[in-house]
């Protein structure tokens, strides 16, 4: 701050000289004191500003990681999403809790996922600076893209069959999907990332008011569902990057989704 101080002195002296007031000590003192207001302690950024300052860094790190493991992401996001789709999802903080999961399951029973990739290409407006069509962790982004284009980018032919299979499996313990989802998130090799995704999903939802309002604004549970599935899929995906996942997905006892997932991994 010394350079700021000396530039303040220079400015004050220049101003005094210009006004022909070189002799006024009190005036000089007053001007310097005014200048010292530039050195007030700055408070911590509030939530909106904090998320602008740090949330983007977080976002950027997540995206770099996902980009690195893209092939895996593409293939397994589907699997993870399918598995979780049936059994319900609770990996993010978007849904209020058990009740939401039940409704989600009821919805999912009649719903055939036509998409093959979660978090399809077009990012929402808030993330337009990211060139890669990555599945963003924010519930808001997949939220915006999925309802609009549920068909997504077809890459995995295996998906539709499993879609049917999962659909019929019905509402097995949705709570179980929650545990694999959460435990994988905790233990995933990309733990910083995965944890960040599931916890950060909640955190960033809370922190970024704009984004947390998007599911509400979408106004329907399906959007929330898709967001959760996408985010949960991403959670599992990030964890899948590390080999630890395999044993974890089987942890949740029951869930035909879990069994199916296990089959797929073998």
């Amino acid at each position: 701050m010394t350079s700021d101080a000396s530039s303040l002195f220079r400015t004050v002296d220049e101003m005094l000289l210009d006004a022909g007031e070189t002799d006024a000590a009190e005036l000089r003192a007053a001007l310097l004191a005014l200048g010292s207001l530039a050195s007030l302690p700055v408070p911590e950024p509030g939530p909106e500003l904090a998320s602008l300052l740090s949330g983007q860094t977080h976002q950027l790190a997540r995206h770099r990681l996902l980009r690195k493991h893209r092939p895996t992401v593409v293939g397994l996001a589907v699997i993870a999403g399918m598995g979780l789709g049936v059994t319900g999802v609770a990996a993010t903080g978007t849904a209020p809790g058990v009740q939401a999961s039940s409704s989600i399951q009821r919805l999912l029973q009649d719903w055939t996922p036509a998409w093959t990739i979660i978090g399809a290409p077009s990012a929402s407006g808030s993330r337009d600076d990211l060139p890669e069509p990555q599945p963003p962790a924010e519930p808001g982004s997949p939220d915006a893209s999925l309802p609009a284009s549920p068909v997504g980018v077809g890459q995995d032919a295996a998906v539709p069959e499993h879609a049917g299979q999962n659909r019929n499996s019905g509402p097995a313990g949705h709570g179980n999907a929650a545990s694999p989802g959460n435990s994988t998130a905790d233990d995933g090799g990309a733990s910083g990332n995965a944890a960040g995704v599931s916890n950060g999903g909640a955190a960033s939802t809370d922190a970024a008011t704009g984004e947390s309002q998007i599911p509400a604004k979408a106004g329907n549970l399906v959007a929330g569902t898709l967001a959760e599935v996408a985010t949960a899929g991403e959670t599992l995906t990030s964890a899948i990057v590390s080999p630890i996942l395999t044993e974890k997905t089987g942890t949740g006892d029951a869930g035909p989704g879990s069994i199916w997932l296990k089959k797929f991994n073998h």
């Binding site: 700021d4 009190e26 004191a33 530039a38 007030l40 500003l49």
Partner: protein, 183 residues
């Protein structure tokens, strides 16, 4: 930190979140000081709003660091004007913490500066007409040149210089009075 920012860096890293932090850290206290000196109702909140507006638009800034500073204070100025319009209906209040911190000065200057508290300074400023107050604040708290201050205020450099001179004369009269009444 300001030295590290050049026009090219600014343009290249316009959406880099680290740049956001650098810009914030560089200008936050000055913007806060400016808004405080200008009697904004909640200077800290207003300061944050300024950056919420400034940071996403960094990529539009031209003119290097000087241009950035001008831009930052143009937004702060607009925020201040907005605040004053609102305040006209409610009593003016200066929620000001009379604590100065973070300055490295020589001891002689310290003495001089300690004789006047920030609250006194703001009170002193209030004897000035709005535009004179604005010029002094932009120049001394915002660190703007005459030309940049003129940009922010939408005036010519000559007009700003006039306002500056008059402000100093007016202040001096106040200071002189203060000298006589000081205990």
């Amino acid at each position: 930190m300001t030295d590290a920012l050049t026009d090219d860096v600014l343009r290249a890293r316009a959406r880099d979140p680290e740049l956001f932090s650098i810009v914030y850290r560089t200008y936050a206290s000055q913007v806060l000081g400016y808004l405080t000196a200008r009697g904004v109702e909640d200077p800290e909140a207003a300061m944050q709003e300024v950056f919420l507006a400034v940071l996403p638009r960094l990529h539009t800034v031209t003119g290097g660091i000087a241009g950035l500073r001008t831009f930052v204070f143009s937004v702060a100025h607009a925020r201040m004007v907005d605040d004053h319009r609102r305040q006209r209906r409610t009593p003016l209040e200066l929620p000001f913490e009379p604590e100065l911190d973070g300055r490295e000065e020589t001891s002689a200057e310290d003495e001089v500066l300690q004789r006047i508290s920030p609250q006194e300074v703001v009170d002193l400023l209030n004897v000035l007409p709005d535009e004179q107050r604005e010029v002094l604040t932009l120049r001394l708290v915002g660190g703007l040149t005459v030309e940049n201050a003129a940009d922010v205020m939408g005036k010519s450099a000559g007009a700003v210089k006039q306002l500056q001179r008059r402000a100093l004369i007016r202040l001096r009269e106040q200071s002189a009075v203060k000298e006589y009444v000081a205990p």
